[in-house]
């Protein structure tokens, strides 16, 4: 039991002192049993604040410290390091959270807040008195990283980590890396052609000695913990023997199945056996078993029969690879909302989404870079853009702004106006959000120099009228209703998390928000980390982002991985669960509820065993244990009882 405890109360400016009477707290708590020192200071986390703590430990011979300030997730580490510098075990420092748990929620009840602050501190003292000396565990650190998703975010993270000298594994669901970025015709605000941006990076990834690429692959299973994740990667077969294939492409002509090509978002056709698009890396021939007749109960062997090198192999099976990595970057990217969800706009082939128009504008797209509309191949002379289709529309389930649409609309409108000089582009908008470097100037140029007509208002209806598509909207600046007889309508539909991201998040033990985006550990201070140590976020899996923001977040995630890998060893919190073997009956309830798969039943002794390196100290097994055999270090039942006695003392 600790007997010489010091209590340090932080004012946090007025955050705490504005509500809690800190002077009274100091005066009251200094007489509490076991407390030999108490003082308050305006900012305990500042250098002078930390010095107060160190001096008191030295001068008063303190054996334990209670820091009454903000949440432990803010400064527990800070103060544990402070006491360690004075030779105390860091687990003899506990935080009493009197800000988030007291002064903030009780701003208007000063008297009650002061009493509550005292109770919080007293309970913490009772816990601290019974703490054990603990030492963090050293766990092995595999200095290899897994990047899930090979889009522009995953590519950036992988290149950054690999160029620091660590091995990287990229797992990409599609046959090619590059993600949505290689579908784009150009970028804003510089109008760079995308191949100039992407091709060198993709080539670098393909040839990088430190990067291993799995395409047509998905993460099947993940177990382990920071430094030691065991990953199972499932790769789908291409049904092509790549060593035999001589790329003659004879098979492409023979295949009887034609279907819309995903890469061109249905604006071109592909066969069931097909080549990845020209932009792709790796260049790959593959059979899509979903549409191939052979895999759907038909005896078709057309490609096999024509192949001069016998490269078609219908018997290929999916393979499972096992890799061990120390850190994971999740870069699963985005999808855009299906335009068919807005039937009042999209019931016509000449009403397309933003990515489809990127393909039409792209020199390598389905129209070879000529701007032609899907229905009849005519060059559209009047083009209408509709922004915020879904975005900022809670009725459709999207409370947020998709952040990229205002700028890509401006970009597409400029590219259109330059390619079709006699044409007219109209943009219906709610607000123009152009808040990054050079963006406002770009939109201004689109309006003033590139003849794009911006109309502030929403569109009520889009419908076919003979050769034209009528667009009904309002111009809220002139107060007039507007009808435009357009040739092509482009919908900027909402950016949504990519399919399967939720399921992957579950496998990784990371959280998603109500909208399906992956959640960061702290929105301000830890934007690229997740709450699961060793797993980081990059790009639009987390939130809608444009390319520069995606690159920044990806490099941020990569730098977190690199700083993790730069350590000699990895420390793990020692406040883990442990079973009392004399009491444990080996029922296994704890093992079945452990979210981290940290518990096994020892087959010989029939008792629970905790893998301390995996245990996160969540306490679930302790609550579930029917015999009370499971304990947690420094969170014992005894400690809870003492705390409860103090907390409820006034009510008994």
């Amino acid at each position: 039991m600790l007997k010489r405890i010091g209590v340090f109360i932080c004012h946090c400016g007025l955050n705490i002192a504005g509500t809690v009477d800190v002077k009274r707290v100091v005066e009251t708590i200094k007489d509490y049993p076991g407390v030999v020192h108490a003082e308050s200071y305006i900012y305990m986390c500042s250098d002078p604040g930390q010095d107060l703590v160190r001096r008191a430990i030295r001068e008063k011979g303190l054996d334990g410290v209670v820091m009454a300030n903000c949440s432990p997730s803010m400064h527990e580490k800070t103060f544990r390091n402070v006491v360690a510098k004075e030779g105390l075990n860091p687990y003899f420092c506990e935080v009493a959270n009197i800000r988030e748990h007291c002064s903030w929620p009780h701003e208007h009840e000063k008297e009650l807040a002061t009493k509550k602050a005292l109770l919080i501190i007293e309970t913490t003292i009772e816990k601290l008195k019974r703490n054990m000396e603990l030492t963090p565990m050293v766990v092995p650190l595999h200095k290899r990283a897994l990047v899930i998703g090979g889009g522009i975010a995953g590519m950036q993270a992988a290149l950054d980590i690999a160029s620091a000298g660590y091995e990287v594994i990229i797992v990409e669901k599609l046959p090619t890396i590059g993600g949505h970025a290689i579908q784009l015709a150009g970028t804003f605000p510089t109008l760079n052609r995308v191949p100039c941006l992407m091709a060198p990076r993709m080539a670098e990834i393909a040839s990088h000695p430190k990067i291993k690429l799995y395409t047509c692959a998905e993460v099947e299973d993940i177990s382990g913990y920071v430094g030691n994740f065991a990953v199972k990667i499932k790769t789908k077969p291409s049904y092509i023997n790549e060593e035999r294939c001589n790329n003659c492409e004879l098979c492409l002509g023979e295949c009887p199945v034609t279907l819309p090509a995903e890469f061109d978002r249905g604006l071109s056709q592909r066969k069931a056996i097909y080549l990845t698009p020209r932009e792709a890396i790796p260049q790959k021939l593959l059979i899509d078993p979903g549409s191939c007749l052979h895999f759907n109960g038909n005896e078709c062997h057309a490609c096999e029969e024509i192949c001069p090198t016998k490269a078609i192999d219908f018997l290929q099976q999916e393979t499972i690879a096992e890799e061990v990595v120390g850190a994971i970057v999740v870069a699963t990217g985005y999808e855009i909302w299906d335009k068919m969800n807005v039937p009042e706009y999209a019931s016509d082939p000449d009403v397309i989404d933003g990515l489809q128009f990127e393909r039409i504008l792209s020199p390598s797209g389905p129209t070879g870079g000529e701007i032609r509309r899907p229905s009849d191949g005519k060059v559209p002379k009047e083009v209408v853009f509709i922004s915020c289709v879904g975005s900022r529309d809670p009725e459709h389930g999207f409370t947020y702004c998709s952040r990229v649409c205002c700028m890509y609309i401006a970009k597409q409108a400029v590219l259109y106006s330059r390619t079709v000089p006699e044409g007219q582009a109209y943009v219906f908008y709610m607000d123009i959000r152009s808040d990054s470097k050079g963006y406002e100037e770009f939109v201004k140029r689109a309006v003033e120099e590139e003849r794009v007509l911006y109309l502030r208002g929403r569109v009520s209806k889009v419908f076919r009228d003979g050769d034209k598509i009528k667009v009904w909207g309002s111009d809220t600046l002139s107060g007039k209703s507007i009808e435009i007889a357009a040739d092509l309508v482009i919908l900027a539909t909402a950016m949504t998390p990519s399919e399967g991201a939720k399921e992957l998040a579950r496998k990784l033990n990371v959280t998603v928000d109500a909208l399906g985006f992956l959640t960061e550990a702290h929105p301000k201070l830890r934007p690229v980390e997740t709450l699961t140590t060793g797993i980081y976020l990059a790009g639009t899996a987390q939130w809608p982002r444009d390319i520069p923001d995606t690159i920044s977040s990806s490099s941020g995630a990569a730098s977190k991985v690199i700083s993790l890998f730069s350590r000699k060893e990895l420390l793990h919190e020692p406040t883990v669960a442990w079973p009392d073997e004399e009491v444990c009956s080996g029922c296994g309830i704890c093992a079945s509820i452990c979210a981290y798969h940290a518990i096994e039943i020892d087959p010989k002794r029939r008792v629970a065993r905790v893998n301390e390196a995996v245990c996160e100290g969540c306490g679930a097994c302790i609550a579930a244990c029917p015999s009370g055999a499971m304990r947690q270090k420094n969170w014992t039942a005894m400690q809870f009882f003492e705390m409860l006695d103090v907390a409820t003392g006034a009510y008994v």
Partner: protein
Amino acid sequence: MNLSYYPGCTLKTKAKNLEDSAVASMAALGVNLVELPRWNCCGTVYSFAEDEELHQLAPVRNLIRVKEVESNKVVTICSFCYNTLKRANLLITNDPEKRNTLNTFMEEEIDYNGEVEVVHLLEVLRDEVGWQSISQKVQLPLKGLKVAPYYGCTLLRPQAVAIDNVERPTIMHDLLQALGAEVVDFPFATECCGSYQILSNPDFVSHCVWDILSSALRWGAEAVALSCPMCDFNLGQKQKELRQTHSGFKGIPILYFTQLLALSLGLDPEVCRFELNYVDPRPLLESKGLLRQ
């Protein structure tokens, strides 16, 4: 099956063709529409005033009539009645304060707390009878008849009372398809007919009606099917004027969906009361071989 049925004023006067064809068709489909006793005006147009309680008395009284006959559902056929009754019912369900005021004011009535469900006849056809069983009972498929379903607004707006997808409804499409007609999907199917503007701004209604009818014709319709007597009045009665102002416009018959239902179920065309239609549909129906004696 017996269902409580609220007719409303128009079905007893100008839209007798709607009521007669509906009641006869439903009987043929095994649904007995039992007219409510002592029903009164539905309130006609839902009130947009903040101080609206007085306006809600009429629709709520009708719902009380339904509760009195121990029915938990009431069918309306007129789109306007559907809208007013349904929205009054929502108000009673969602606003306890107004519910209390209304119940207190009508002290001579039993209390009403939203126990009754208000449905439109199209919903009964879809949800209780079912398209498949309707198509099985069709005696005279409407083969070759190109009909454009027109929904108007009160079946679909506001969203809380919509009987189908607000922006792209298909319920009447589905019915007509079950009857064997060639359904013409046209973009003005949910646009406003002009409604009561016919009283104060008839020229505006002419615009609305022309937009709707010319669009239906452009998309190949030979007739328009609808459910609302107000729409029927505007779309039918305005055609005389449109024939003068738009050269080449020869008119297009406007039919209640129930008339087409009755016809295809092989009922005596008498129940359709075609003589009440503003544009006589009989020549068209005859030319398609759909008028049997």
